[in-house]
């Protein structure tokens, strides 16, 4: 398991190449998710985190999930992100697809609503802090119920 929080622009394909590059013969399934900064009214996003604490909280959440997998990678941008750039990339490698899909979805729901990040959107009208939607919170609650 690796968790990388970075202020630098990253390329999902390059990270996928590295992730798949370490060939493990039991690997049959790799699920990924890339979260992108949408354009339209948004001029940029700004993401803030709480160094060390954020990594620690993500690691604590991810560890039991990583135990169901062959490998897990989480990359998350902080700082200013422009439309079209990747904000987050999660990849899960498993023997079979069910574990890989479940891991990526559960982690994304967690990262969206419960990991220590704060996100601000800059539009022509000014900047707004984004907080989780009711749907995000409902998805998370559903996972907690099925996971316990």
């Amino acid at each position: 398991m690796r968790i990388r929080i970075t202020p630098d622009r990253f390329s999902p394909e390059q990270i996928l190449a590295e992730f798949l590059g370490a060939y493990r013969e039991e690997a049959g399934a790799c699920a990924t998710f890339t979260g992108l900064c949408r354009g339209g009214a948004v001029r940029w996003l700004e993401l803030e985190h709480y160094p060390v604490f954020t990594e620690g909280r993500i690691a604590a959440f991810a560890r039991p999930i990583a135990d169901t997998l062959l490998d897990l990678l989480i990359v998350h941008r902080v700082g200013r992100v422009a439309p079209g750039e990747a904000i987050v990339f999660v990849a899960a490698l498993a023997s079979h697809r069910a574990e890989a899909f479940a891991a990526v979805e559960t982690l994304m729901d967690y990262l969206k609503t419960d990991a220590p990040f704060w996100k601000r959107e800059m539009t022509d009208l000014g900047s707004t802090w984004i907080e989780p939607t009711a749907l995000d919170i409902e998805r998370r609650t559903r996972h907690e119920e099925t996971n316990t």
Partner: protein, 80 residues
Amino acid sequence: MARILFFGRLRDIAGCAMMEYAACASLLELREALARENPMLGEALDDPSVRVAVDQAMVGREAPIDGAAEIAFMPPLSGG
């Protein structure tokens, strides 16, 4: 002295990301002291959606903070 950290919109309201502050015995006492200096901040910190970490561990809203070096106030989280 303790280091007080503000994240997200709380940073905007506090006007800073970090302040050094005289030690308080409890979070309740700290929030009251901060509210006296900045009533808008006091109101924002009273919101039950605000979470608190003391020395990098999540704590309840009334936790003792005697001897704590770092107290972080965190509004609802939003990553990804």
